[in-house]
């Protein structure tokens, strides 16, 4: 085990653990945000640069500080390393800048976006964003396109985090989708008007941190915080069949993978479970999904609320 100190809190982790995962082990406010890293997908991270941190001491052996900020999601800890996240003004300044960059070509159309309430970018900009934009130039826009019969791509909202590309690469056969072009004209696309229709493609929707990939069977049915989320399962021949169903009364509006507190699914699910099983009869309901009090989704759900005791 190796020791690392993040924002003055010491933690012991396995060698090879990244700074981000060490911070997640501590938990709370010192965990850097992550837009492109996705622990369930190999090789993700390093691209969005929202998780940059400052290493003020490299290790016990080589105590020199690192010359630049480093991406915590893809930098392994060393024994004796000292890291600053929210205790470094430099990190907070860089993060603010990264949020500004990410929002340049993002429309902030949260009021009409299906991802609202579950969007990592929304949370990130709430915490680190500026209240006003300094960007006066023209922004890029795209027509929405159906990249399969169940998935709609709204490129205008895409932040090019590559998560869906990794999903396609690692979970689906006959990959037909990826990134075209370079720089800020890069876009997610299918290969020559192909459609994404293999059994596990729906996981791209769950992995997308923003509302660029949406579930066509759910679009505009409800705001997520109005839906009742329950964990459910069924016997499935393709996947583990463990899902979260999102209901209005007894109607299932949407089925997703179960997400952890970092917004990453616990297990990938198949398209049949996600898109085709919308009947309550299909599922064994396990009970309400526990949702963090801090999440907007917990709005209107007064589960397990402990009333403060009256002072005598």
């Amino acid at each position: 085990m190796v020791k690392v100190t993040i924002d003055n809190i010491e933690v012991e982790v396995e060698p090879g653990t990244t700074i981000l995962n060490a911070a997640r082990k501590i938990g709370g406010k010192i965990v850097p945000p992550a837009m492109c890293y996705y622990s369930k997908l190999k090789g993700t991270g390093g691209k969005c640069r929202t998780c940059l941190v400052k290493v003020t001491k490299g290790s016990e052996k080589d105590p020199r500080p690192m010359p630049k900020l480093v991406p915590s999601c893809s930098t392994a800890v060393m024994d004796g390393m000292v890291v600053q996240n929210i205790t470094s003004p430099e990190v907070l300044e860089a993060r603010k800048a990264i949020v500004e960059f990410l929002l340049i070509n993002h429309p902030l159309d949260c009021p009409v976006c299906d991802q609202a309430g579950e969007c990592d970018l929304q949370n990130l900009s709430y915490e680190h964003g500026l209240s006003e934009t300094r960007y006066e130039e023209e922004r890029r826009t795209f027509e929405k396109i159906d990249i399969g019969d169940k998935i709609q791509l709204h490129m205008t909202r895409c932040i090019l985090c590559y998560r869906c590309v990794f999903v396609a690469d690692q979970l689906t056969e006959k990959r037909v989708h990826g990134i075209m072009n370079r720089g800020d004209v890069a876009e997610i696309s299918t290969y020559i008007k192909n459609s994404v229709d293999n059994e596990f493609s729906g996981n791209m929707i769950d992995a997308c941190p923003v509302g660029a990939l949406t579930d066509k069977t759910f679009r505009f049915k409800s705001r997520v915080w109005f839906a009742k989320a329950c964990d459910a399962h069924r016997n499935c021949t393709h996947c583990g069949g463990k899902v979260t169903v999102w209901m209005a009364g007894n109607d299932i509006l949407r089925v997703t993978g179960r997400k952890d507190k970092y917004g990453e699914v616990e297990e990938f699910i198949c398209n049949e479970c996600r898109f085709e099983k919308k009947d309550l009869k299909d599922w064994v309901i396990e009970g309400p999904r526990k949702i963090s009090r801090e999440s907007v989704i917990s709005q209107n759900h007064y589960m397990n609320k402990n009333k403060p005791e009256k002072k005598k």
Binding site: R49, A94, I104, Y135, I159, L160, N181
Partner: protein, 436 residues
Amino acid sequence: MEKKILLANIETPDFGKFETFRKQGGYAAVEKALKTMSPENVVDEVKKSGLRGRGGAGFPTGLKWSFIDKSTNNPRYLLCNADEGEPGTFKDHYLILKNPHLLIEGMILSSFALGANTAYIFLRGEWFYLMKILDQAIEEAYAKGYLGKNILGTDFSLDLYCHPGGGAYICGEETALIEALEGKRGNPRMKPPFPAIKGLYQNPTCVNNVETIAAVPWIINNGGCEYANVGIGKSTGTKLISACGHINKPGVYEIEMGLPVEEFIYSEKYLGGIKNGKKLKAVIAGGSSVPILPTELILKTAKGEPRLLSYESLADGGFETGTMMGSGGFIVMDETTCMVKSLLNYSRFYHHESCGQCSPCREGTGWMEKILHRIEHGQGNMHDIDLLVDIAKHVEGNTICPLGEAAAWPVRSSILHFRKEFEAHVINKKCTFNNG
């Protein structure tokens, strides 16, 4: 006499042909190394020579070679970076055109030193005619037993391929080059692991610039110490400088490191002075990604010493008053040049060439170009100038590969040294140079 190491004899008719090259002493270093030296000896000579990578970063070549992971039995690769995409840099192109066999000889020696049995020259795709030249030279070298199985009867074997790229500047970055060679999108990889541990096909790989590799035969023939005697301080040997812009004699020059910049610009032997008798205004000394310097600072350092063409002297003063050797693309601008317009040009290039993986580079390069476009066309505000500096600072240092810095440095240095010109564009609401 000036020293010629890379461009010696190139005027000999048919120098690009095997026989002519061989007659002038070509491939002697291969015989010497393969028959009388061990790979370690070759690495040692290169270490002694003080040769530093000529691709831009100037990292010591011998040291870089010693990082190659020799603990596995996996194949090792040598990749020659012949992508040369930096605006203003065209020296590798010239070297290959004039002296293809020197590069091949260097490839054999470097591969031998690294224990690589397969090597690639990754050539910029637009230079299809250079590929023909290289392919022909490679074919000749195979036919004469300098490539292939058991070279010159020794137990060293090497296969050498020339591989065209797609013509994207980012494919010159070493890990993007590896990705591209593997047939993928040329996106830079995250480091670590470094190529020396996991490079091409996840095997130990060394990426070196054309000019770096071409210097190796001379070092083996004459010894590392002899090479270290050429040049000045830690800038040993000769350097190819590709010079362009408002000068009388643009072209590729092989200079001995340490040549004064003033002599390089004004002497008849080199650039022959500024065109049409105009005054010098600024120079970008190492390809468009290094900081630009105004006349007073390119000819003399802030301490008043003559500025020399060497790594140390060019960098003297740091970002405030110095610049970098970079790839050796020497871009000269006379008094009629509009600094805003020329910066706009570079910014447009970096915007276009960003691979788009990292958010700051993807979005920041475009933002900078658009602001510069407005300023150049008289639609800028005073606060745009500070905004530009702020954006550049937030791109710089926060990206996966150095393209972020390459895009940020020209912006920061142009405003640092020529702020008045940016302000004049804002105040006059137009470009006052109108130089077309």
